[in-house]
């Protein structure tokens, strides 16, 4: 093929151009279709059946699963927890990450080292992070309780993972610790695309640091910020490892998220039909989140033009 394409005139293929293009695209298309498109479609189809490995049923049941889902308190409980987790962790990570990026953008001694070191939490496997935070926030021997107790901020040990009031917050803290560096890295690359000339010009006009940031850097950073936020939100929405390792969804379902719920439905009770409906609901919610971000992003870009 390549010989035919690179040596014109000699044995030129008889097939017309578009056919060649399609032919060459086929391998990519087939591999994508088999690992991405087919599972999604099959998942959608499963969500319309009552498939269960235990009862051995496997029949089309229309929207019965979705009707059940709509009235399922456990699902909505998990849905709200997931939304809360996504919103809280994305906002915190974006704000803190932006701060970190602004610092790392400045020139100072050892900047390379700090930039590399910053990425360590993100490079760690989440299960390791989970175990680590499990120990840090341990109710009996955790360092967090020790510090708070000795600083006089609390008068007795708090069982962070055993109380519905604190369990989710603790998981959010662990996630923020782990993923903020990722946001900082994305935002740092964004900041570096802001032309220095603009900032210098502003400085010559007498603009202070804050004004420069607010009127020059932030607007120019906005597209990056939105894309990074979108990535992060979609990723946070799928949170699984932290919850699975630290609380298993408890206490009293207070940390149950959609991923852990669908895992339980799919793989503990083997209800593939209903489990797929839960997964599809996740997919739809993520689609809506993405849509909101993209619409906002387009408005931003259009306004900039």
């Amino acid at each position: 093929m390549s010989a035919a394409a690179t040596v014109p005139g000699i044995g030129r293929p008889r097939l017309p151009g578009p056919v060649w293009a399609w032919l060459l695209l086929t391998p990519a298309f087939v591999s994508l279709a088999s690992v991405s498109f087919y599972p999604i479609v099959n998942g959608l189809y499963l969500s319309l059946t009552n498939t269960s490995l235990i009862t051995q049923e496997n029949e089309f049941s229309g929207f019965a699963n979705y009707v059940q889902l709509w009235g399922d308190a456990q699902f909505w409980n998990a849905w709200w927890h997931t939304m809360w987790f996504t919103a809280a962790s994305t906002i915190l990570e974006t704000v803190i990450g932006l701060g970190m990026a602004l610092i790392l953008c400045e020139a100072f001694k050892g900047r390379g080292l700090v930039r590399a070191a910053m990425l360590v939490p993100w490079a760690m496997p989440t299960v390791v992070t989970s175990k680590m935070f499990g120990w840090l926030f341990d109710g009996q021997n955790g360092i967090i309780n020790y510090i708070l107790l000795h600083a006089g901020l609390i008068d007795q040990n708090i069982n962070w993972y055993g109380s519905p009031d604190t369990a989710m917050t603790t998981i959010i803290i662990a996630d923020v610790w782990k993923t903020t560096p990722f946001m900082a890295l994305l935002l740092l690359t964004g900041l570096q695309t802001v032309p220095n000339s603009l900032i210098e010009a502003a400085r010559m006009d007498g603009a202070k640091g804050w004004i420069t940031f607010w009127h020059i850097r932030l607007p120019l950073l906005m597209p990056t910020l939105l894309i990074a936020g979108l990535f992060r939100a979609l990723d946070a929405f799928r949170v699984f490892d932290l919850v699975y390792v630290l609380t298993g969804g408890g206490p009293a379902d207070s940390t149950e998220t959609l991923s852990t719920l669908s895992y339980k439905v799919l793989f503990s009770t083997l209800q593939f039909g209903y489990g797929s409906a839960v997964s599809t609901a996740m997919f739809v919610t993520e689609g809506i989140i993405a849509l909101v971000f993209v619409l906002y992003l387009m408005r931003q870009i259009r306004r900039a033009q």
């Binding site: 490995l53 235990i54 051995q56 109710g139 069982n159 055993g162 206490p251 009770t269 083997l270």
Partner: protein, 463 residues
């Protein structure tokens, strides 16, 4: 589900060194085959084609002859190991007779019980007859029986043969009036206490919950221990085990005997759950931390000498007696769990039991393997080499077991009260509901209201 394998996981760690000495299964035979093939190929190319062909021919001939005379079946089980593996056990069976040839299918270790479950379900659902014999966690038995995957064993094991097993284990192996699994090895919840501290507070092991709470509170107040009583309140399978024990010890039950309706909002069950809530909120003999603890987090304070009483599985004892990991060597005693007035001590049953695939094409051979695996001799071997407790009470009197596994031998009394978790084909759904509902009751303290809600939910699942 997670309940028993903790114990298995820790057994594993403990037996790691033994394992290395033991025969390595799996990869070796494969290596042999490759080397042999290559050698045959070399011989052939060297011109000794005839001899090699003869060699291959006779080799195959022998193998075929053996295969023809022996029924070939397969055995699948979660991978336990101690001084030997289940693969070794199967090898012993294969060498012990010449009628049946068993292929061992190794599933993931019991610590990955969800994966073991999936693996088994996928194979059984195909209805191809593979595996012919399998081992199953007690909580899967009803589901496999209801799906028609497990062969009823009544005709092979009539009443007189069954009487050799613990009643509680037999109950767990029975679904819809039929014996669909054969007891193999077991574990159960038990009551750990500190002998030295108890000596200071009366010396008598409490046999009812109220006494237990009084002694625990007194020991805590006297400063002998930080915690009176430790149990497992994490929203996980072990919470269901703790609940089954305390509810049954008050003559209550989670499901009605027919398994078709919930009894968890009745007085006996509500009182029992209320007692657990009170250990944290009222009597304060348990730290609030138990709400996020499963087996290991609750074991650690106990073996470091900070607690008076604890409910846990049998795996804790060897750790408590290990001077490297424990500050309470020789200070720990084990007894049946306490009960409420008028109730009987109950222990949540765990362990793996045997089943025969209803679609097996070699039923007689499968029964032969099943009978051998559950026989007195094999259970004896498993007790000694794997440290897994037998389901035959008679074996607890065995001199060799008494000598080599003294702790196990002392458990007969505890195992006698072994109670199955709710027997229903919908167990997987019921347990998730129970974990969530009981956790809510323990956290909020609105026990009756939460149990009512839970009961509605369970009725919807099993009704």
């Amino acid at each position: 589900m997670l309940a028993q394998h903790r114990e298995a996981a820790s057994l594993k760690e403990e037996k790691m060194t033994d394992m290395k000495k033991g025969p390595v299964s799996g990869s070796k035979p494969v290596a042999h085959v490759t080397i042999a093939d290559r050698r045959q190929f070399l011989i052939g190319s060297a011109g000794l084609l005839g001899a090699a062909a003869l060699g291959i021919g006779t080799g195959l001939g022998v193998r075929r002859a053996r295969a023809q005379s022996r029924a070939e079946i397969s055995f699948a089980s979660a991978a336990f190991f101690g001084k030997e593996t289940f693969g070794d056990l199967i090898k012993v069976f294969n060498e012990s007779q010449d009628r049946v040839l068993v292929k061992n299918i190794e599933l993931p270790p019991p610590s990955s019980s969800t994966e073991v479950y999936q693996g088994l379900v996928q194979q059984l659902a195909r209805r191809t007859g593979t595996p012919d014999v399998f081992s199953q966690d007690v909580i899967w038995i009803a589901g496999f029986a209801a799906a028609g995957w497990a062969l009823p064993l009544d005709e092979y094991f009539p009443a007189d043969k069954r009487s050799a097993y613990f009643t509680g284990t037999l109950n767990a192996c029975t679904y819809g009036g039929k014996l669909t699994a054969l007891p193999w090895f077991m574990d159960s919840g038990m009551f750990y206490y500190r002998k030295d501290v108890l000596e200071k507070h009366g010396g008598k092991v409490p046999d009812n919950w109220a006494d237990m709470a009084t002694i625990a509170a007194a020991a805590q107040k006297a400063g002998d221990v930080d915690f009176g009583y430790l149990w497992q309140g994490k929203q996980a399978e072990v919470l269901v085990c703790d609940a089954v024990e305390i509810i049954t010890s008050n003559n209550g039950a989670i499901l009605a005997p027919d398994g078709k309706s919930s009894q968890i909002n009745q007085k006996a069950a509500v009182e029992a759950i209320q007692f657990l809530h009170d250990t944290i909120a009222k009597t304060k003999i348990s730290p609030q931390d138990v709400l996020s603890w499963d087996e290991e987090p609750s074991r650690q304070p106990f073996t470091s000498g900070k607690a008076m009483f604890m409910r846990n599985w049998s795996y804790v004892y060897p750790i408590a007696q290990d001077a490297k990991a424990s500050q309470v060597v020789d200070k720990v005693g084990v007894a049946p769990l306490p009960s409420f007035p008028g109730g009987k001590s109950a222990a949540c049953l765990g362990g793996y039991q045997l089943g025969v695939n209803a679609n097996s094409k070699q039923r007689e051979a499968a029964i032969e393997l099943l009978t051998w695996l559950s026989s007195t001799e094999t259970q004896h071997r498993i007790a000694l080499n794997f440290g897994l407790a037998p389901t035959r009470p008679a074996l607890f009197q065995d001199e060799q077991i008494k000598k080599e596994q003294p702790f196990m031998a002392s458990l007969e009394k505890v195992f006698t009260g072994a109670t199955a978790r709710p027997i229903t084909p919908e167990y997987a759904k019921v347990t998730l509901a129970l974990q969530s509902g009981i956790s809510k009751a323990l956290v909020s303290g609105n026990v009756q209201a939460e149990m009512d809600a839970l009961s509605d939910q369970i009725n919807k699942i099993v009704g």
